[in-house]
């Protein structure tokens, strides 16, 4: 019947199509009366998980980021997270979800469920058969939001708000949506067998690479290198980290898409990686700089969280400790050594933490994956990793990393050029000195 609908509608205006959504939705008059394969417990958990993931962006990421910038840019930094939430939610609902998760083409999905048309209160997605499809759409929406918001960190303190707005819109559509389809929506990377439980490639590597490219394209902040850029209020960054940390349980635990052991294992593995990441960065800093900073601890925690993300549902809790250790070390090295060598100005280390972390985690997933965790009725064998003798998995993971890296890097670059052609990407030096809060938003912290 959905096909029929598709045909009958192909000749109609979008609004007409939307109208149809209602039609379709209304056919089963007493919807809730009918028996449904929707599970209440899974639904309860996924609603909570969706809330947790949104909490990661507003206020989590907004706090984490704004706590690291200078006073004059605090509100502008928050504005980026807020506007991403509003903008990406609408685009995702409009067609982003459908293009990512509906239709199994190798490159992209279809518009079949644009505006959730053709779905009813009974509908479920093949990817999450026990919860309402609208909830699955929403859960995935919160991932899209935070990925775009993450990128903003690299251009903080200097990108023009209007330019960011356009950048965010296009980046979601041209970069995030395709990659989400490739890895999670049944695209060619999924078919190739790439393992990414909650977003090592789709979210973190993707955002990290885009951040790096954006930092290069937009250039260094005025005064970078000699002026004192110390954060205005790190306590905000710590609060943000707490919310990110807890929210991540919804991010990784929710990616099990049901309320069972796998979700619980993912949460515990995630928590241990974050803990180990925090201590690792702390000790490395203590050892190399003489003092363990709070910024270091929270950076390590976020590094651990980002790195364990793709692995969380495929590896055991104690693997989380090992991955967290590697994450803390790799990201510490990237932020304190690599960054200086390469000489780019990624304001809030989106690449150093999420890019490096995402890639590392995706690779390690291929190393530590434990088949038993991913085994299920439809995949009795599960997905073993290198340690369980399946060396090929590591290569497949590498394949996924490279594909993501290339697409994200190239398309981000192109899209930035396009946007830069329409509106200057960067504020005037005068405005940069005055601060973005006042010049972009006409308000300021007192």
């Amino acid at each position: 019947m959905r096909n029929q609908l598709g045909e009958t509608m192909s000749r109609q205006s979008t609004l007409g199509r939307i109208a149809c959504a209602v039609a379709v939705l209304c056919t089963p008059t007493a919807a809730f009366a009918q028996a449904s394969k929707i599970d209440a417990a899974d639904t309860a958990w996924m609603m909570a998980a969706s809330g947790l993931v949104l909490l990661m962006t507003i206020p989590g990421l907004a706090l984490f980021y704004c706590g690291m910038v200078r006073k004059k840019n605090v509100l502008a930094t928050m504005a980026q997270s807020v506007v991403c939430t509003g903008l990406c939610s609408i685009l995702w609902f409009a067609f982003g979800y459908s293009l990512s998760f509906v239709g199994d083409g190798p490159w992209l999905g279809t518009f079949a469920h644009a505006f959730m048309r053709g779905t009813s209160v009974e509908s479920t997605s093949a990817f999450a058969p026990t919860i309402p499809e609208v909830l699955f759409m929403f859960y995935q929406m919160t991932f899209a939001i935070i990925t775009v918001a993450l990128v903003a960190g690299s251009v903080a303190d200097r990108m023009r708000f209007s330019a960011f707005f356009w950048f965010a819109a296009g980046w979601l559509v041209f970069v995030y949506v395709p990659i989400a389809h490739w890895v999670w929506g049944g695209g060619f990377l999924a078919k190739a067998g790439v393992l990414d439980f909650a977003g090592g490639t789709v979210v973190h590597l993707n955002a990290g690479v885009a951040g790096l490219v954006a930092a290069y394209v937009i250039g260094k902040r005025y005064g970078y290198g000699h002026e004192n850029f110390s954060p205005y209020d790190l306590s905000m960054a710590v609060i943000g980290t707490g919310l990110l940390w807890v929210g991540w349980f919804g991010f990784n635990g929710g990616s099990a898409l049901s309320a069972g052991s796998r979700a619980a294992f993912a949460i515990v593995t995630t928590h241990l990686a974050a803990s180990m990441g925090a201590l690792t960065w702390m000790f490395l800093e203590w050892w190399t700089r003489g003092k363990p900073s709070v910024l270091g601890m929270i950076s390590g925690a976020v590094a651990g969280l980002g790195t364990i993300t793709p692995a969380s549902g495929f590896v055991l809790p104690w693997h989380g400790l090992i991955i967290g250790l590697i994450a803390g070390a790799m990201c510490f090295w990237a932020c304190t050594w690599l960054k200086l060598r390469l000489g780019y100005d990624d304001s809030l280390d989106v690449f150093g933490v999420h890019g490096i972390g995402g890639a590392t985690g995706t690779l390690l997933t291929g190393v530590f994956a434990v088949a038993a965790l991913s085994a299920g009725p439809d995949a009795p064998g599960g997905s073993p990793g290198l340690i369980e003798g399946n060396a090929r998995q590591a290569l497949i993971q590498l394949y996924g990393i490279i594909a993501t890296l290339l697409w994200s890097g190239v398309v981000t670059f192109i899209w930035l050029k396009v946007v830069g052609f329409l509106v200057p990407l960067r504020v005037s030096q005068q405005n940069e000195i005055e601060g973005l809060d006042l010049t972009q938003h006409g308000e300021a912290l007192q």
């Binding site: 690291m68 850029f229 003092k291 910024l295 932020c335 304190t336 280390d349 150093g352």
Partner: protein, 112 residues
């Protein structure tokens, strides 16, 4: 009348105030300032970036006093604010030509 300007270490403010009150000075104006001088600062490290901070927090006190009491005031401040370590601060004395109490319009010494 003179305006005695003293730059001291923040945690010494209370002691200095008490010392001033002790010598009969019942008014002063204080403000938070940053001082640069012999006293070496510290470095702050934020991930990859290291910043040397040379401006250290100090408190600046302004006290208007009758000319004949300047020395007593200087002595009071010196003794109270002294720790003997670099960074204790300075006292500068500047002439005041006129003083007015806004509430009453009283002028000169009566204004203090």
């Amino acid at each position: 009348m003179k305006l005695v300007i003293a730059v001291i270490k923040p945690f010494k403010l209370d002691e200095v105030r008490d010392a001033l009150v002790a010598v009969g000075v019942h008014g002063m104006t204080a403000s938070e300032v940053k001082g640069y001088g012999r006293q070496k600062g510290h470095t702050e490290i934020y991930r990859g970036a290291e910043y040397a901070v040379n401006f250290l927090p100090k408190i600046r006190i302004e006290v208007a006093v009758a000319s004949d009491r300047v020395d007593k005031v200087i002595e009071a401040i010196t003794t109270a604010a002294k720790t003997g370590q670099i960074g204790d601060g300075k006292i500068f004395v500047v002439p005041i030509e006129q003083a007015v109490r806004i509430r009453t319009g009283e002028t000169d010494v009566d204004a203090l």
